[in-house]
């Protein structure tokens, strides 16, 4: 949900899109229109047959205008009927007390008649440590404690006391309680740490790899996830994995390249213009992740390799990407419906991912083009990629809404 009017030359004139982005760039009237456009687009996706619609949480961020995903989810719960409301998600450590998450998501689950997916990210360092001042040293401990509180609050049959290190409550007794029992499905957005893979395996949660750098860059991470699952004796059920992918479809490959060049360039060269130290405060990475990174560097140095593991950078002198690079590297999947369907089938089967989260609006893509893209994907791409895994695997992590006969119509009165 990017702010659509970051100026030309933004990356040259401003240090970062995140944390200390110039507040003077924000025009509330542009924001007003953007919120309604984005909600229209999500509602439209639900109306044309997408299985779910996603919202997320970011702070002080020019490419993510949703500090509160739950506000947006509540709106969508009223304005849609059948699509899952996928909150990807609430950064648990940022809520005080985290019981608030149990309450608000129970409200969304109630409003939507049991259509909620509850995503619980640790949160990026920009959001958590810089914008919200969380101590990197204790962030993950705080997150896990908050998770335990939320899940117990949803499932306990009696009021209980919670004596955590960071949260102490004499009476935990959330009203309302979620429609879905014992609780809504839980998905964990992750960045590739071994600890998160193991935790998803242990808790039987969906692991969602949310990278903006596409399926080619994501292969190593997803291979690592599935290898770890195999090591732990878990079945390779593709529905236990999620993956995000930028997609732009048009009638022809050439037309798609013409239509989506500007939004893609806007996203990758303005919305991802991040001041690097904001991405790595000391303590945000676990010691195991740091060790793995240092071991990799030492090994490469020993092999006298010039390659260094780092986030992908563009070929230009300022690190920006050309559109051709974005397409070539798989950051964006662009083309005709046939071409895109083939590529997405390849993404899903190669990564063994049963939950594809398609970014059909990106950068400064306007409402009309987003709806065009959404409509074309729904009509001509979704039929080709649906049902890839259903014959072999059960999706145990999808919402289980109330039956249609028990659900009240969500139509308003005006």
């Amino acid at each position: 949900m990017p702010y659509p009017d970051l100026p030309d030359g933004f990356a040259d004139q401003h240090r970062s899109v995140w944390v200390d982005i110039d507040p003077g760039l924000y025009d509330p009237e542009v924001g007003h229109r953007a919120y309604h456009d984005y909600l229209d687009e999500l509602e439209y996706a639900a109306s044309v047959g997408f299985d779910g619609i996603c919202v997320n949480e970011h702070h002080a961020n020019g490419y993510g205008l949703m500090p509160s995903p739950n506000l947006m989810a509540a709106t969508l719960a009223r304005s849609t009927d059948d699509a899952a409301i996928v909150v990807m998600g609430d950064s648990l450590a940022l809520y005080n007390p985290p019981l608030r998450v149990a309450e608000e998501l129970a409200m969304v689950d109630g409003l939507s008649g049991g259509r909620l997916v509850a995503g619980f990210p640790v949160g990026t360092p920009m959001d958590t440590c810089f914008a919200y001042g969380m101590n990197p040293l204790t962030l993950r401990e705080r997150y896990h404690e908050a998770h335990d509180l939320v899940v117990r609050a949803w499932t306990a049959e009696e009021p209980f006391a919670f004596n955590g290190t960071y949260t102490k409550l004499r009476y935990v007794n959330p009203w309302p309680r979620p429609v879905q029992q014992p609780h809504p499905p839980i998905w964990i957005p992750g960045g590739g740490s071994v600890e998160t893979w193991e935790w998803c395996a242990e808790m039987d949660y969906v692991y969602s790899y949310l990278s903006y750098f596409g399926y080619k860059a994501g292969q190593a991470t997803m291979r690592g996830f599935w290898q770890r699952m195999a090591d732990l004796g878990r079945e390779p059920n593709p529905f236990q994995a999620g993956f995000i992918q930028f997609v732009g479809v048009a009638d022809t490959d050439a037309e798609a390249r013409r239509l989506y060049r500007e939004p893609a360039e806007y996203f990758f060269n303005r919305c991802l213009h991040l001041y690097p130290p904001f991405a790595d405060p000391p303590g945000y990475q676990t010691e195991a992740t740091v060790r793995a990174g240092v071991e990799g560097m030492v090994a490469r140095a020993a092999a006298r390799s010039a390659d260094r593991k780092k986030a992908p950078t563009g070929s230009s002198t300022d690190g920006s990407f050309t559109f051709d690079e974005m397409v070539e590297r798989g950051y964006v999947v662009i083309g005709s419906p046939t071409s895109v369907a083939e590529q997405l089938v390849n993404v899903a089967t190669t990564l063994n991912v049963g939950n594809l989260m398609l970014l059909l609006q990106f950068g400064n893509m306007d409402r009309d083009l987003t709806m065009f893209n959404t409509d074309l994907v729904a009509r001509e791409v979704l039929p080709e990629i649906r049902g890839l895994f259903e014959d072999e695997w059960e999706h145990r992590w999808w919402p289980t809404p109330m039956g249609a006969g028990r659900r009240r119509s969500v139509g308003g009165v005006r």
Partner: protein, 261 residues
């Protein structure tokens, strides 16, 4: 110079401690760079003192302790450490975050130190003069803000000779862990309420600053002095940044010598 290295048992695990020199005892608490071996300042001071320098948990050879989450946890730990070292009521030197912890301990346990040379302590916050946010800088810029002397900086960044691959990995992880530990003590701001407690400190405090310190600007010396009952401010040391004892080891050692307690 003989250097004795021993492990001091504490509730946070064994604390690696270096002892060197002969003479009056001075406890020495390192700054955010941690402590792998006695520094030039410690060696200078050890010419006529017995220097006792513990490595705090997570700052080098002493492993981190996950139960040290808050400044309160650290002050309780430091109180125990001074007991275990047998240095309650001794003269101490402390730098940056450890100087903040020492002042916190002196506020709640007045007998802890006879005197304290506090080198660029963190712990106060002036919104009109906040200093640079060290951990929002690149690693290279962090080093440049911590140490002014390029030769010292280069020496700090240079890998020890003879390290094998495993040793390099352990060193890389250790450097990350000590940055993590130091950052945790000042994150997101260094103000944990120390200003309200400094009036309880009875130990004589000597405040030392580097003139080039942009992390805790030299102006903070007067702020501390205004809040401490018995404090003197040494004129800022020219050519020194935040880690004054690394930039100007002889000058800091001389100040400690002059601090007769």
């Amino acid at each position: 110079m003989d250097i004795e290295r021993r492990e001091v048992a504490t509730g946070s695990g064994p604390v690696t401690t270096f002892e060197l020199g002969e003479g009056p005892v001075v406890g020495f608490l390192h700054g955010p760079a941690g402590l792998d071996e006695p520094t030039a300042c410690m060696r200078d001071l050890a010419v006529d003192h017995r220097v006792v320098a513990p490595c705090l948990p997570g700052f080098g050879p002493t492993p981190g302790d996950p139960t040290l989450r808050t400044v309160h946890d650290w002050v309780v730990f430091l109180s125990e450490l001074t007991d275990r070292l047998g240095l309650v009521g001794s003269r101490w030197v402390a730098s940056s975050v450890s100087a903040m912890l020492a002042l916190e301990l002196a506020a709640v346990r007045p007998e802890a130190f006879r005197s304290l040379v506090a080198v660029a302590p963190t712990g106060l916050w002036d919104p009109d003069d906040p200093g640079v946010d060290l951990y929002s800088l690149s690693l290279t810029d962090q080093e440049a803000h911590l140490v002014a002397d390029e030769e010292v900086r280069t020496a700090l960044a240079t890998l020890p000779e003879g390290l094998d691959a495993d040793g390099l990995v352990e060193l890389g992880v250790s450097r990350y862990v000590r940055r993590r530990t130091a950052a945790s003590l000042v994150w997101p701001l260094p103000d944990h309420g120390l200003a309200d407690r400094l009036h309880r400190v009875v130990a004589k405090v000597v405040l030392v600053w580097g003139a080039e310190d942009r992390i805790v600007p030299p102006s903070y010396g007067e702020r501390f002095a205004d809040l401490l009952p018995t404090a003197t401010v040494v004129p800022p040391i020219v050519g020194a940044a935040h880690l004054v004892a690394l930039d100007a080891p002889a000058a800091v050692a001389a100040i400690v010598r002059d601090d007769s307690g």
